[in-house]
């Protein structure tokens, strides 16, 4: 292959490294109104009165909107970027009189500059009726405090939601007789695992600007992964027709799922719609840490039964997920905690997976890379590691006995067949690369420090089965260069580049011959958006098919110009030829613009009836200071089966970046609330994402299977990569200090104070 499977520079790389103005705030009109949100200091309260007159007297103030401006009995909406009808409940109003978490929106404030708006916010007087908050998600179900008591709350899909029980979703699935399996098992591992509402912490916070266009339509430019869903969300929130809204995205400063929720768009949209003036909102880091769309906190009760030979016979998982004040992505994330962990174990005869997703009075959760699989894999893989220890069996050996293989049916993965899988090779590669046999389980370094290893496996999906839609439009321009239009959003991942690579491979041209037009609801063909590990697999396949179709169009016009039958011609990327006669693409392109009616343009839409899982194995070598409990990952080795890596460099960096996020979740990224519902980690001062001093090295290998349904054999990569560090690091710490931790992050205090260690 000439372009696919090549490490080509990202098409926008040099613009980015030289700091060109390509992000939202770089291109926003300079006369934008500054929009800020007055937020609730209480976790549960009713706004009794709100006085804005004094604030509005400030010179430069434009508007202040409160619940009084928003019909409270109107249809509610969700900010979750999902295919309609969204599984996430319609539980929001643009401004709700009932505020449901510390940080919920009380007023939208717009003025000429930041200083004016900041001052105005201090002059707004709000009287609250403070209600008792529901902060403990263990007691949320059927609690007397209802987070959403209102009658216009609505669930569009049968996900087991019931606002009168604080239930955002409930589901049960099973196969075989799990209790019988446990009764017959030699060993049963039975523990509860807990992961926190970690923050995506993309470097660019949430931000959007809006203007009115020449047709009186609302033009929204946002740092978003989901332009099309965003259009619907704004229409639903503002109660205006979708035809009046255009959403596009500039370069995005990172997303990781955070921007799969329209966290900020509706507010400047409302200001611009009402005032007809340009407006922008930029979340502060504090807002991004306290009123955003983090991972769902989950508590997972795993029961795992096995024979004394180490064959996993059954897995029972109950997941309790905390969606916070609103239900964004609540019903869907929880499913992955079981459906993307249990299927790894191919010998199991039974499984049961039950889950509840509950409302509480804390910030709403959302979508974060891994999307529930991360949480579930921490629990299940940790339980398997504990099983290995209990049986005095090497965790690699135990995995080899149990893993799923290509061609196996996966009952816990909706009964799908495992169409492509190199998980066995991933195990072998990681085992050898980290020199497991010499390092497992622990080595005393003789200086108060020990070095130990731990491992874990992971899977994910490639798009949402029979839901996600990806499209591509390709056209030939003068001189024979191509424009590729997509609705998927490059958020730094490089999808503009890898999709162009797929097109270039089919069209037999160079990367320079293809320009890419990013996501814009007015001009892009429909795409669900960049999430659920769908872009390479779903949209990538659309690009491949589209390029093939365009090739046919080129041949058709070429044949007409050569005066021969289309079945006799060939296109080699430069010329259409038949026998000795040929005509160049340039001449065909020119002809298409003068006196011919064959369109040199094609649009193809793709969806997939399967979601082939990428697989991964990871192993961590940690150094633990037994005195202080400080734990550092000095070496992390991983092998990924993402099918064919379209761009090995970009796939590698996806893996390395995801792994470090997982390490952060395992060791340092904590979320804690006080008794009144204030989150403590509200800046990068308290919320510690790893710096480059916190990691030794990350080494990634590819063990590629070939997925027939994917473009050139590719599956997804973006999400699976975050999952392995959690169980791997936790087990490495167990091997270092002899104590198991069931809650993340495992902080130095926890390690230093552990009984075994003391």
């Amino acid at each position: 292959m000439k372009t696919v499977n090549q490490s080509i520079r990202k098409k926008d790389a040099m613009q980015l490294v030289t700091g060109q103005p390509v992000y939202m705030d770089d291109i926003a009109p300079k006369d934008c109104l500054v929009v800020k949100l007055l937020r609730s200091p209480y976790a549960n309260a009713i706004v009794k009165t709100i006085q804005t007159e004094n604030a509005m007297k400030l010179p430069g103030m434009e508007a202040i909107y409160t619940w009084e401006d928003i019909p409270q009995d109107a249809k509610r909406y969700t900010q979750a970027g999902q295919t309609y009808p969204e599984p996430s409940p319609y539980d929001r109003l643009l401004i709700d009189r009932h505020v449901r978490f510390v940080g919920d929106v009380v007023a939208i404030v717009a003025g000429q500059d930041e200083k004016t708006v900041d001052q105005a916010m201090k002059l707004i007087k709000v009287e609250y009726e403070v209600l008792e908050p529901l902060l403990d998600f263990h007691v949320a179900k059927d609690n007397k405090i209802l987070v959403h008591p209102e009658d216009n709350w609505e669930s569009l899909c049968p996900v087991g939601a019931d606002n009168k029980r604080n239930l955002c979703a409930h589901d049960e699935s099973s196969e075989g007789d799990i209790e019988k399996v446990f009764a017959e098992s030699d060993v049963v591992i039975d523990h509860v695992y807990h992961t926190k509402a970690c923050q995506q912490t993309m470097m660019e916070t949430f931000r959007t600007f809006c203007t009115m266009d020449a047709y009186g339509r609302l033009n929204v430019v946002s740092s978003t992964q989901i332009v099309f869903h965003c259009r619907r969300i704004i229409a639903n929130a503002l109660h205006i027709p979708k035809s009046m809204i255009r959403v596009s995205k500039p370069r995005i400063g990172g997303g990781f799922g955070a921007k799969q929720t329209s966290v900020c768009e509706v507010y400047p949209a409302y200001v611009t719609w009402m005032t007809k003036k340009p407006a922008k909102i930029i979340f502060t880091r504090e807002e991004s840490m306290t009123a955003s769309s983090p991972r769902h906190e989950m508590e997972m009760h795993v029961r795992l039964g096995a024979t004394k030979e180490g064959i996993v016979k059954g897995i029972d998982l109950y997941t309790l997920s905390n969606t916070g004040a609103y239900g964004e992505h609540g019903p869907t994330t929880v499913g992955l905690s079981g459906h993307k962990s249990i299927p790894l174990y191919g010998k199991a005869e039974a499984f049961r997976f039950v889950n509840d997703v509950v409302y509480t009075n804390i910030m709403s959760a959302g979508a974060y890379r891994g999307y529930g699989a991360t949480q579930g894999l921490f629990a299940v893989e940790s339980a398997v590691n504990e099983l290995a220890a209990k049986l005095h069996m090497d965790p690699f050996v135990l995995r080899e006995k149990n893993i799923i293989h290509e061609g196996d049916v996966m009952p816990a993965y909706y009964g799908q067949v495992n169409t492509s899988c190199a998980l066995d090779k991933c195990l072998q590669t990681v085992h050898d690369m980290i020199d497991w046999d010499h390092k497992y389980p622990v080595r005393d370094m003789g200086n108060g420090k020990v070095r130990s290893v731990g491992m874990g496996m992971a899977m994910q999906g490639s798009g949402i089965t029979s839901v996600d839609v990806g499209s591509a439009t390709l056209k030939v321009n003068d001189d024979g260069f191509y424009t590729l239009s997509i609705g998927a959003a490059d958020m730094g991942t490089g999808c503009d580049t890898i999709l162009a690579q797929i097109a270039a491979e089919v069209l037999d041209c160079t990367m320079e011959d293809i320009t890419v037009l990013g996501a814009d609801t007015d001009s892009s063909p429909y795409d669900s958006g960049s999430y659920a590990s769908s872009t390479t697999y779903v949209t990538g396949k659309a690009v491949e098919k589209c390029a093939l179709q365009l090739k046919e169009q080129i041949c058709k016009l070429g044949a007409e110009l050569l005066g021969c039958d289309v079945t006799t011609v060939e296109f080699d990327g430069k010329n259409v030829s038949t026998g000795a006669k040929r005509i160049s693409l340039e001449d065909i392109a020119t002809a298409s613009m003068c006196g011919h009616s064959i369109a040199l343009e094609a649009t193809v839409t793709n969806t997939s009836e399967i979601s082939p899982p990428p697989f991964m194995v990871g192993a961590a070598e940690v150094e633990v200071d037994l005195e202080t409990g400080e734990t550092k990952v000095i070496d992390y080795v991983a092998a990924v089966d993402c099918g064919t890596p379209i761009n090995p460099n970009l796939a590698r960096v996806q893996a390395e970046g995801g792994i470090l996020q997982g390490i952060g979740m395992a060791l340092s990224e904590n979320i804690t609330y006080d008794a009144l519902g204030h989150v403590a980690e509200n800046s990068l001062m308290q919320y510690k994402i790893p710096s480059r001093m916190d990691i030794g090295h990350i080494r990634v290998a590819f063990e590629s299977s070939y997925e027939k349904e994917g473009p050139f054999g590719a599956k997804s990569i973006g999400e699976v990569v975050i999952n392995t560090p959690l169980p791997a690091v936790a087990d490495a710490i167990y091997n270092a200090v002899g104590k198991r931790f069931y809650e993340l992050p495992i902080t130095p205090e926890m390690v230093a104070m552990s009984d075994k260690n003391v």
């Binding site: 490294v17 995005i252 710096s691």
Partner: protein
Amino acid sequence: MQKVNIIIEVNGKKISEAIEPDMTLFDFVRAHGCYSVKCGCETSNCGLCTVFLEDKPVLSCSVLAVRADEKRVTTLEGLQEEAAEFGAFIADQGAEQCGFCNPGLIMNALALFREIEFPTEEEIKEYLSGNLCRCSGYEGQLRGIQDFLSWKKEKGVRA
């Protein structure tokens, strides 16, 4: 608030202006078209807003513009050739990713290369530890930096 008259040299161009005394250097340089300078945290943790003040890297979100009075300020806009030369090595790893942290990283890396011509891996990590990146896991950036240093060394030998 009483405005203050300042003269700041930004990328070789002298700017004379009356500014609010609480204006940060970050706001000042962006107001003068230096859009490469980004803000990621407001608490001086992320390194995205790094600029040179008299050739020394500073976090512009935490420096008042008035402190740059009568001084030279350099942003990536003023170092385009160096940025492209070094940045190409980051790009060759695909490690620029979303790009939002790149200007701050590249500014600080250029500062590092001026202080230590051929830094060791430890020196690189330590000097750049205040430059956070959420996309790359740092490994690709490190490879890019080391490739750049090897290239520079080889070029030096050949010259």
